[in-house]
Symmetry: C2
DNA sequence: AAAGATTGACAATTCAATCTTG
DNA sequence: CAAGATTGAATTGTCAATCTTT
């Protein structure tokens, strides 16, 4: 399974992005203005991890923390114009790659694959 | 797929082992006396990673570096008695878990699953 | 006290550079 | 020079502790 990740990684490398960074850009592209805590839940990582990731990506000029006007504890996260441009450039390649790799399986096979993985995951949760 | 790894991780946690450490113990249990470079190839990680892992595991008293008598550049890796005991304690639980999770699929389904994953991996390698 | 964020210490990983030996 | 190992910096991740705000 490593080659799949490697391929996605390699495609992002041309844009100067890691997979983790792309995931954050894509998440914020889908719903802007969420808090760091919410982003951590979406991506199934810890608050501490998100905090560090956002630190670097804010320094890189791709995302912005804006104070929540109604809760002074919280930051709301937004893409900068640069971040939106970068996402627009990188996302099509990722989607194309996934589509291309998925085309190695027939639609019914994809469904079976997901079902098998779900059942394995289910068996693990006990 | 995260729950599967989590479950294996959790079972190892009781023995004070991480998955990466267990992989090294299991590798050396299977073929002792290999070099760090060889171990890196088996586990598909870098020499630098193995070097650090062995540093910590040697400090923990689980593995030993012994100088290769015929090539003064190389270290040969061995399990200590403690390492062998730890592996003997931890391995059955891992095997049982994998067997249990795999039992969620019929034999033919397992074969199909591997075939699908192989084909995805194949499609990625281009 | 609980929630949101930050920080610090550590593990595991990569890569590039270096040192020693062959 | 190439091979084996080590080291240093960087990223991504965890967890626990802390600080501010609710």
């Amino acid at each position: 399974l490593g080659r799949i990740e490697q391929r996605l990684e390699q495609a992002l490398d041309g844009h100067g992005l890691s997979i983790a960074q792309f995931d954050i850009l894509a998440s914020l592209g889908f719903e802007e203005g969420i808090t760091q805590q919410e982003l951590a839940e979406r991506l199934l990582v810890t608050k501490g991890n998100i905090c560090g990731m956002i630190d670097r990506m804010e320094a890189g000029g791709w995302v912005e923390r804006k104070p929540d006007p109604e809760d002074r504890r919280a930051n709301r996260l937004f893409l900068t114009r640069q971040g939106k441009m970068l996402l627009a450039q990188a996302a099509p390649g990722q989607h194309a790659l996934i589509k291309q790799m998925m085309s190695a399986l027939a639609p019914g096979e994809i469904q079976s694959l997901y079902q098998f993985l779900d059942r394995l995951d289910e068996a693990a949760g006990s």
